[in-house]
Symmetry: C2
């Protein structure tokens, strides 16, 4: 954990850029007073980013009698970031400008039998090419690409160490993709991508200590401490789905019993429904998405069974979240991923109530619980943000190929 003065520079660069993105258009003065950095440093950093073409000057703002403040904004033509979300059933690729606004979006389905690395790689390559074509952008304009794959990754090596759903072991994804995709490529997994997305663009903005609870088919808890993603000793922090919630509870595919996942993951919620109403019309056997969608509609329509399922799910989720709050004492807990997206406010309200009963008063008072409010796909956004972070870190090391465009 060696720190150098360059890390400070990089952190400040993140801070300034993040601020400009958030404000759309802003003066140096404003940045300085908001970030606590000195005017000189801000001016210096802004100058550097202008030089690189990542920012543009966009006019002036009255200053009440003196020289007007120069306003800067992200240069929409400053380059392109690629965010790739590889999931079990699809490959989703998005192109972003440096403000992380979506320029193009492409999704290709992955059929169940298409799970060999070369097949997945082919889909990724064709999606990226097609997205670039749609947006009319050349490879030379790409600042970097981030790719998220499920499971355990070795991000330095660019290797998918283990992907449970496809039984991949040590697949050298970066090398495989590098043959066809000529751009810097950064690998990580969806949980961490979501955390980074929240830190830059969501509820984690400006917060130090953040927990992102991912509710999908599986569940996990992404962590950020001190304003930065926390990875743990071997980049596997956040394995929260197999936390024991009920001793001798439901059998989990991990072999254990009573895991959080078996109660609040999508299949767990289906089981909650089955336990309450075995013949419910909401139940679409073998289709998690359809079931959760049906439940969401049911809740919206005031169906009592649907409401009961949400309450029951929140009973488990709330306890588990309260445990997290007690342990980590975060500033904010974000409920993310598609299940949270569908069940939305109904789930949030119930979870808040349960947490209120189970968490300790003091940590609870410091914690906001919220839904993910990021528009679009937070995973591809986060993946692209990884690429942006890496690009920003490389500035000044004469390694980063700078893209000049005005």
């Amino acid at each position: 954990m060696k720190r150098t003065s360059r890390d400070i520079r990089v952190a400040n660069r993140f801070e300034v850029l993040r601020h400009i993105i958030a404000s759309a258009t802003v003066s140096r003065q404003q940045i300085a007073s908001d970030t606590g950095l000195s005017l000189a440093t801000v001016s210096n950093l802004v100058g550097e980013l202008l030089e690189l073409g990542l920012l543009v000057e966009v006019g002036y703002q009255d200053s009440g009698g003196g020289r007007p403040r120069g306003l800067v904004a992200i240069n929409p033509n400053g380059g392109v970031l690629v965010g790739i979300d590889v999931a079990e059933t699809y490959v989703h690729v998005e192109l972003f400008d440096p403000a992380l606004t979506v320029l193009a979006s492409v999704e290709e389905e992955l059929h169940p039998e298409e799970n060999r690395p070369d097949q997945v790689v082919a889909h990724v390559v064709s999606s990226v090419e097609s997205a670039l074509a749609t947006a009319g952008v050349g490879h030379d304009r790409v600042l970097g690409a981030g790719i998220s794959v499920p499971g355990q990754v070795d991000r330095e090596g660019g290797v998918s160490v283990f992907a449970p759903n496809w039984d991949w072991h040590d697949v050298p994804l970066r090398s495989l993709l590098a043959r066809s995709l000529d751009m810097p490529l950064y690998l990580d997994n969806p949980l961490r991508a979501c955390v980074v997305a929240e830190l830059w663009f969501g509820a984690g903005r400006g917060r130090d200590d953040v927990v992102v609870v991912n509710l999908g088919t599986g569940v996990g808890a992404g962590l950020a401490f001190g304003g930065a993603l926390y990875r743990g000793a071997t980049n596997s922090a956040g394995e929260w789905g197999h936390t024991t919630l009920v001793v001798d509870g439901r059998l989990c595919h991990c072999g254990s019993r009573g895991c959080v996942e078996t109660y609040v993951g999508a299949p767990g919620i289906m089981q909650n429904l089955r336990d309450l109403a075995p013949n419910s019309p909401f139940l679409h056997t073998d289709d998690q998405t359809a079931t959760i969608e049906a439940l969401a509609r049911g809740v919206a329509d005031g169906d009592p069974v649907a409401a009961k399922v949400v309450t029951e799910t929140a009973r488990y989720l709330g306890v588990a979240v309260a445990d997290l709050i007690n342990l980590v004492n975060p500033e904010v807990v974000v409920l993310s991923s598609w299940v949270a997206g569908l069940l939305g406010d109904a789930l949030l309200a119930e979870v808040r109530a349960v947490v209120g009963r189970h968490a300790l008063r003091r940590p609870l008072a410091a914690t906001e619980i919220t839904l993910c409010r990021i528009a679009g796909n937070p995973v591809s956004l986060g993946a692209a943000t990884f690429a942006l972070e890496r690009f920003l870190s490389a500035i000044g090391t004469n390694a980063g190929g700078l893209v000049r465009q005005t």
Copy 2:
């Protein structure tokens, strides 16, 4: 979370001093190669600490034909650190030299009715005075004092925000003590003191991500990330005792049910015993310590009931620790505090077995589980270490009153 280049200096100072303490006597060369810092920086830092009198040169080491390496060590007369452990039933004060070797140790009992702040403060003051007298040290030699009190503290303000066992609310301990104790005073709680002690002198040395599981009457989990104590948003991270382990389980004094504490805290272990053998001779009603001690002897003597109690306790503790490992992915988990000390290896072995069955393979492989191996009282050691850290942080800010002694 503003970082400056001075933070780097302070971190390196910590690193170097920690290394010298660990090595007892060591050359600059060795420090440099072990820490990865340059010779120049090490020389610079060592020079600074020599100047302050915290280190002394203690001879030379042959270098194979050239100039011999100068050896440095902690100056045993370089000043005195005070560590104060205020617990429910006693006040324990220890004096340390800058290598954190104990110079004197004093304990005064706190009677159950002596729980007013002024009474506790009086005991602290008299203990410190008596310790200083025993060691024959004047106030002027004290570099700083750290004090640990149970409960929630505001360490900047030096206020005990909430101490549940005595029902203290917002007691301004630092101000109260400052009237009689003329030394820099740092306040925190035992959980965090233990973590700092482990980071400097225990299993956490040189590790980035550490969990210290405290097993006493209550239980908690101290956390360190990136080599530094993690506090959370409001200095209350680590409240792990009230994590729900068994839904609808044993009633806890916090009002909830099934908290970890009710199974693995000392009263919980007594209950485990009662459940197995209601009339066991190990059971000393109303005396936790005696009961746990009796159990420990029973285990040593091969008593089957005692062994069963340990197994049963480990069944709960192991699951809870496995959950921690999955979530945090630490390099080491330390079992600390008096219950762990008494039950020792028997408990450790059982916990390891249970964790092996419940934790995920990859995080588990990266984690060592160990008992606290710090001799003496880790809380007063940690409290004194807080004082040392603060003293080291203040060097160069012309704020720290430097003590020059050779």
